[in-house]
């Protein structure tokens, strides 16, 4: 920075110093403008589009021409309920699968492994997490496809490979993708449990199984819920994986397809479904104490 610039900056800093209000506005103006104008503003425009009429001829939305047509479409056409149910089911299954798979490795990392091995395991879990999403999805495409790795593995037993159009593929691949997001919070949660609590439980006569059920599990539960926010939300909004490995439609696919076809009001109205589901999920997760474990 050159000298006269610094002088101006200094004068401004001196003027600012006793003025807390001005300081606050100086800090808050730009991020507030961004989050309100760009993000919340966009959400509002999306919400409005759900209730605006679409000109059938030009395929464009006419602002302030109010109608409930898109919402009625969503409610009355069964495909929207079926797809929402399918997405919700897979998101729940993925979350449960990841919790079950993550717990043993997280427990091993936090309470059994030596510090040295613990560090190595954290890196081993981080690497697949940082690997690109599409690279991992593509890897599963090669494994699951007709003459891929899985059908090679299964061929001695005379079982054909699954191919790329089975719904369970989406469950498998989404569970794979979000597993590290579940392992790390559970690991952190288990590591925070003080050793003295477990000793106290043992001193009071609890067997290892009882200590696990009555002490460790309740204390680790908020961490599981924290991890589930990732696995659930990321599965709920995904439209690439169902398309690429399962040839199935999720909520996101119908939003994307409707928007691509120029049917913005329906896309906007259907967006309300994951928003509402996620807001309910966040409120419940907050009551279960998940936000303190994030």
């Amino acid at each position: 920075m050159s000298a006269p610039n610094e002088g101006r900056g200094r004068r401004f800093a001196r003027w600012l110093y006793p003025r807390r209000r001005a300081q606050l506005w100086f800090l808050l103006a730009a991020p507030l403008l961004w989050i309100v104008a760009v993000y919340l503003g966009s959400l509002l425009i999306l919400l409005l589009n759900a209730f605006w009429a679409k000109d059938a001829l030009t395929n464009t939305v006419t602002p302030f021409d109010w109608t409930l047509k898109a919402v009625i479409d969503i409610v009355t056409k069964p495909v929207y309920a079926i797809v929402a149910g399918r997405t919700l089911l897979i998101a729940v299954l993925v979350t449960i699968t990841d919790a079950v798979l993550a717990f043993p490795i997280a427990y091993y990392m936090a309470r059994v492994a030596s510090p040295r091995r613990r560090g190595a395991l954290v890196v081993a879990v981080l690497l697949p997490l940082w690997a690109a999403y599409l690279v991992k999805t593509f890897a599963w495409r090669t494994i699951l496809q007709g003459n891929g790795f899985l059908s090679w593995l299964l061929s001695p037993f005379g079982i054909p490979g699954p191919g790329l159009d089975e719904l369970p593929n989406a469950w498998l691949v989404l569970s794979y993708l979000w597993l590290p997001y579940m392992i790390l919070p559970i690991y952190a949660g288990l590591e925070r449990i003080p050793e003295s609590l477990l000793e106290a439980s043992a001193d009071l006569g609890a067997k290892a199984g009882t200590t696990f059920r009555r002490v460790i599990l309740p204390l680790a539960f908020p961490a599981v819920v924290a991890g589930s926010i990732f696995t659930f939300s990321l599965s709920l909004g995904d439209y690439i994986v169902p398309d690429l490995v399962a040839d199935a439609k999720f909520i996101g696919n119908l939003i994307y397809d409707n928007s691509a076809l120029g049917n913005l009001p329906v896309a906007a109205a259907y967006s309300l479904v994951p928003i509402v589901i996620m807001l309910v999920y966040l409120v419940v997760a907050r009551r279960l104490g998940a936000f303190e474990s994030l």
């Binding site: 900056g9 200094r10 001196r14 600012l16 110093y17 807390r20 300081q23 606050l24 800090l27 730009a30 991020p31 507030l32 961004w34 989050i35 760009v38 993000y39 919340l40 966009s42 959400l43 999306l46 589009n49 798979l101 993550a102 043993p104 091993y108 059994v112 890196v123 981080l126 697949p128 940082w130 690997a131 690109a132 599409l134 690279v135 593509f138 890897a139 090669t142 494994i143 496809q145 003459n147 790795f149 794979y176 590290p180 392992i183 477990l198 043992a202 290892a208 939300s233 995904d238 439209y239 690429l244 996101g252 939003i255 994307y256 928007s259 913005l264 967006s271 994951p274 996620m278 966040l282």
Partner: protein, 266 residues
């Protein structure tokens, strides 16, 4: 240790199985990069380095790579500035609506990406903006701001206030205090925020497909389109392996930053 020997063996086996599950797809993918055939049948009929040369000169891959780097750098820069300002405001001041702002700031990552995508696309269309690198950057910055904010706000919560007060008592103005005291304390949080922002932006497709328009490709968008064209598959394999190897860099950097952070805040 309360776990019995039997339980510990079970845990060890479970750990190895999960690690196998996490790494098997990555290993298979790495092998395919050397696959001479255009088809993806397993096992590959042989090994070749042919497709590496093909990939290095592929103009679409190179353009997409450049776009991804520009978008990542720009989104990260915006995110660091806005995220730091917001975290200083939320953490160092108390004011009406603070909790609301703190909540609004995490919404872009708490809500599914498809919502951010369709919302931004609708707005850009309504405003008549041209889709391209600019709209991609705006989309990425919305969730990168959250990442930067979260990192810095967590750090500010743990940094003691006394050095800042001492600095002010000794006659330093707010700018000098920020530069000499607050900034060095936040340094590693900013670094890890930048790392995470850039990596997220570099990897993003859910939002990007909505905000990119037809003419601009990032690396994820290129992969997404190329996957569905059989002739492009060998190049996809190589790009995938390169990205896989590149993801070692942020893991290494993150570990180093974490080590330094532990030293500072101890």
């Amino acid at each position: 240790m309360t776990e019995s020997a039997f339980v510990r063996v079970l845990l060890r086996v479970g750990t190895w199985l999960v690690l196998g599950f996490l790494y098997l797809p990555l290993i298979i993918l790495a092998v395919y990069a050397f696959n001479p055939s255009r088809a993806l049948a397993w096992p590959p009929p042989g090994l070749t380095l042919h497709w590496f040369a093909e990939t290095a000169t592929n103009p679409a891959v190179r353009a997409a790579f450049l776009n991804s780097i520009i978008a990542g750098a720009a989104a990260t820069a915006i995110a660091l500035v806005l995220g730091t300002l917001a975290s200083l405001a939320v953490q160092r001041f108390s004011f009406f609506g603070r909790d609301t702002i703190a909540f609004a700031l995490v919404l872009p990552i708490a809500l599914p990406g498809v919502i951010t995508g369709i919302a931004l696309q609708t707005t850009f269309k309504t405003l008549g903006l041209n889709f391209g690198l600019m709209t991609i950057i705006i989309g990425h910055a919305t969730f990168c701001v959250v990442i930067a904010y979260n990192n810095v706000v967590a750090r500010l919560r743990r940094l003691p206030r006394t050095p800042e007060e001492a600095s002010a008592d000794l006659g330093a103005d707010s700018w000098l205090t920020f530069r000499r005291i607050t900034m060095p304390g936040m340094r590693t949080a900013l670094l890890s925020g930048a790392l995470l922002s850039f990596a997220l932006s570099f990897d993003e497709i859910i939002v990007t497909l909505f905000t990119a328009g037809a003419g601009t490709q990032t690396i994820p968008i290129w992969i997404f389109t190329a996957i569905q064209r059989p002739t492009e598959l060998p190049v996809v394999n190589v790009v995938a392996l390169v990205l896989l190897l590149l993801s070692v860099i942020p893991v290494y950097l993150a570990q180093r930053i974490a080590g330094e952070t532990a030293r500072i805040t101890r």
